[in-house]
Symmetry: C2
Subunit: 268 residues, 2 copies
């Protein structure tokens, strides 16, 4: 019997490695397509084969998956949206896809890619399929619980962050004393945390949630060691994430680092 085969469309960061390892542990053989310069090279060692293709080479990506006799596909890792400004690197298929979009929200782009993949007969798996144990349940994840003031900021921030997500703008906001210090758009989570913490001086509360319409097959809110380091450097007080919907990358190390920095991490 042939092994199960997973096509991993891999952006940057560590998540592609975590998924590839977990997939292998579940008996898959993994064929990776590295989509960005920041896709970890270590992915090669875990994969049966690894290709390097630009996200704009839609035709090559699809034909590679077919040649490799892939039926299950998983999208994981950070692909910088600025790639959209480099259209000269796009093939005709990718350009057609791009110009059919009603807008360029993350959700819109990703949904179009999934429709395209499923239209070609591929089955798109959610990262949760392999990373279920990296997703926290509701509760305070650190020894330190949020203070009353921090809870007030979390309660103020969560619905606002959801609205920002609903609008397709970003997932992260930084709050202090029930004021919004920073809102994430294209600059990304870390930069948003840095800016907000600098404006709030210290004691800021960072809230990161999913978009209500977010398809968790494609894209899940993720926090990791780097997130915690940004909070610690910015003298933030607490991080609130969404229970059951947020990936903790290297969760144990991450929470140890949070303890050391005196941070409170809460899944709401």
């Amino acid at each position: 019997m042939a092994a199960k085969r997973l096509g991993l469309l891999a952006g940057g960061g560590e998540l592609p490695l975590l998924v590839a390892r977990a997939a292998r542990a579940q008996g898959y053989s993994v064929v990776s397509i590295a989509l960005t310069d920041t896709t970890p090279t270590a992915l090669q060692g875990i994969s049966e084969r690894m290709y390097r293709l630009s996200p704009g080479q839609a035709h090559r990506i699809l034909s590679t998956l077919r040649q490799e006799r892939i039926s299950e596909v998983l999208l994981i890792g950070k692909v910088n949206k600025e790639i959209l400004f480099e259209r000269f690197r796009f093939d005709l298929r990718a350009l057609r896809l791009l110009f059919r979009l009603p807008n360029r929200d993350d959700d819109t782009i990703l949904a179009a890619i999934v429709t395209e993949l499923e239209g070609e007969g591929f089955h798109v798996l959610p990262p949760l399929h392999f990373l279920a144990d990296q997703v926290p349940s509701k509760g305070v994840l650190t020894r330190r619980r949020p203070t009353r003031r921090e809870w007030a900021d979390i309660e103020y921030g969560v619905p606002l962050a959801r609205e920002i997500g609903r609008l397709g703008i970003g997932q992260t906001i930084v709050v202090r004393d029930q004021m919004v210090l920073a809102v994430e758009a294209l600059e990304g989570t870390d930069e948003t945390i840095r800016r907000g913490c600098a404006l709030g001086k210290e004691g800021a509360v960072v809230v990161k949630v999913s978009r209500p319409q977010q398809d968790l097959r494609l894209d899940m809110p993720t926090v990791g060691l780097q997130t915690i380091r940004c909070l610690a450097e910015g003298k933030a007080a607490a991080l609130a994430i969404e229970a059951e919907k947020t990936l903790l990358v290297h969760g144990e190390e991450m929470l140890e680092e949070a303890e050391r920095a005196g941070l409170s991490v809460v899944a709401v």
Copy 2:
């Protein structure tokens, strides 16, 4: 008959000067209270008297206005919200006001200040009372009209900017190709424009609108020469503002600068 007397609670920027000059031209004598280090010193020359008080000295501000036999008050100019983090400088009355607030949105803070002033018998005038000719009607204000792509970004951006305003977060967003590049929170308009333009490389569209619940007596969206310069330096393509609700500071110079930079400015 005694001259009409205006109490000008003045923050930073040029607007206090413009209001004071216009008020004098309408026969008012002006007593100014400089609230920030950035309140222009030139205000002294236009005012009958000028006091320097911190926004946290609520009791002194009210007693000064009473001593000066002021009945009409106008709030104008930028007061950095970071002042809220310096509570040790607040008197009891200001602290009471601050701690009664349900949150620290601009609108909430300003509404509480107005309630306080009106409760003491002062009448709060809108800046429009003196600056009506600085507010544009609907239309394209520059010779260059927006391109079709720029219009698409304006149409995409305006309702999103309104939502950001409705949430009490900020008034400005930067858009390109129907993606939100940057959202304003506490960092202010200029910094938001710089960040968004840097992320969008060039051709960004900046949208600045009022908050739906914004009380124009207190606070109006304002654009000026500095706004245009930020757009020009960031190689932006267009600025969209709200007709009838946005103050153009030194509108003529501003639009000349926009023409030179090849920008399109639209009141929607």
